[in-house]
Subunit: 334 residues, 2 copies
């Protein structure tokens, strides 16, 4: 049986986008043997065609013209890994209008406009998935949408920003924030612009998405009370550490008679607490609920290949033609 | 829109079976709102109609006649939660022959006969799922089959038997094995017959299933080198504990150029090791691989409601008509 070819386009070909292309190329045989599908990145939208790339696609793949993707009827599915709100939201809507299923890694867009985009996807009857938008390689969206009985989760608690987790771990050993941030950038644990990490809005966006997905009640970013780590002094962290305590940026979301509360704040924990022991740059999410008790997931929360792994999982589900739309969870009850 | 009713039958109505019925009943509204489906347990096979049950189904549901399930064309899907090898394997094959998709919690049957049953399911073109057979509520099978790129896992390490994890935790504080076992039974952490737990064959069966699912190369139970905890003395455990060490029953599966090695053995670990810190009666599985790095899942590994949660996740996938057959992974490459 010859495999069915699925033509994939990417919006963005940076760290995540190029890792998706590399993963689909390197593992093409295993994917074909297991699924009968051959996924090929045929087009990728970039701003600068001449920029050097770690993984160089064949000539003709990179394009600066969104229309070359949106209007190409041969493209089966699009992964949005460019980030940002503008023009990304317009692209997203144009792709749905053109009949293309979308996989996205864009937590800020979904946390702000998830409800409206869910409606657009529903009208278009297209599946949209966003595993890569929450906790990198950790498949928590899929577990919430598919593995657990609907709305059985009552509380979510986690360390969902690897950058601040790394910074706090270093600062409690005396590093200044700026020095720790330089180290984090060298190690690939922080991007050049780390504002959303430091002020807590990255963690807040993830917690809003997890809450909406789990509880069936849309929670948008402006409902989340959040604070970051910029004002914490290394001296306080060191003192806490000597007293057997750790400060971590903890997110919490809970539902009670349909009232949803979501917050993110630096939180002092006993050094033996599960969340105090999350390795630097990792994420951990605990789901608590009726029946299954407490389920904990831990893994790399960011990074090109790690995030690409989540994007590919969603692409494969959509390519196989059996994907439910996880985005529907952000639209609230029908 | 009126919901589509899906008629479910159970083989077995013990701790897990009655919890499945209870969960589908208690959460019927949430399930319907989220999926548009109404799942109803219409028939359940038992040995004794008069035995008192914690959750009593309506009259006419319980039956001692397998034919009343297998030959009833109105039954859409069957969950096998009776355990055992005989007559369970015959029932399994008869259900496939009758065109019924199956969800099973039976690790011993699949670890011994998974390859053959996978072929039968493939011939019948029916999905079979077995999340509940491995680590209770922890959705590791789904993650291996759907969330991670095919065959990207290279190594699996875990504490996959909650009973022995509880016993070791108690014995290192001086309890004799038999006393700890009585406690475990009182707490619902051990069944009356705990032989498969103590001798390691329960953990071995789970590791064989995880290895087959992850690596795409069937690993049957007789390929697993395993030993249990029956010969470990509380004195040795106490001494290890005082020296900052813990003994845990650790399972490991690794693949290298398609050679698969699976083993289960009591293993001494530093007290700070992740696997030394798995709470009593919990399971933890770490998946290591290319791209995603290391992904760790922790949750209750047994228990009626916990296992029922996994059964219901599989029932919902099949009921929605979009389920891939996870059992196909046990059949080896096509």
């Amino acid at each position: 049986v010859s495999p069915r070819t699925v033509r994939v386009a990417l919006l963005g070909y940076g760290c995540v986008g190029s890792s998706v292309d590399r993963l689909l190329t390197d593992r093409a045989d295993e994917i074909e043997e297991t699924t009968g599908l051959r996924l090929r990145v045929v087009r990728a939208l970039v701003r600068d065609l001449r920029k050097p790339r770690p993984f160089q696609p064949p000539p003709g793949v990179l394009t600066t013209d969104f229309g070359a993707i949106c209007e190409d009827a041969s493209i089966d599915v699009v992964a949005e890994v460019m980030g940002g709100l503008t023009p990304t939201e317009d692209y997203f809507r144009a792709l749905l209008a053109a009949g293309k299923p979308v996989v996205t890694a864009n937590k800020q867009l979904l946390a702000r406009r998830g409800r409206e985009l869910a409606r657009a996807a529903e009208l278009a009857r297209l599946p949209v998935r966003f595993e890569a938008a929450v906790c990198g390689a950790v498949p928590v969206v899929r577990i919430l949408c598919e593995a657990l009985p609907p709305r059985s989760v009552r509380r979510i608690v986690g360390v969902v920003n690897g950058t601040t987790n790394y910074l706090l771990t270093r600062m409690e050993h005396g590093r200044a924030l700026d020095d720790a941030l330089d180290e984090a950038r060298d190690l690939g644990y922080a991007e050049s612009d780390a504002r959303d990490d430091l002020n807590g809005s990255d963690a807040a966006a993830k917690m809003a998405l997890l809450a909406s997905t789990a509880f069936g009640t849309p929670a948008s970013l402006d409902q989340v009370e959040f604070s970051g780590i910029a004002d914490i002094s290394p001296r306080d962290l060191e003192e806490a550490r000597r007293a057997g305590r750790r400060v971590r940026l903890v997110g919490e979301a809970a539902v009670d008679d349909r009232a949803v509360v979501v917050r993110v704040a630096p939180t002092e924990l006993d050094e033996h607490h599960e969340l105090a022991r999350v390795p630097a740059a990792f994420n951990e999410v605990a789901l608590e609920g009726d029946g299954f008790g407490r389920l904990t997931l831990r893994g790399p929360g960011a990074g090109g290949p790690e995030t690409a792994s989540a994007v590919v999982g969603d692409l494969l589900a959509i390519a196989a033609g059996r994907a439910t739309s996880h985005l529907a969870r952000l639209g609230g009850a029908a």
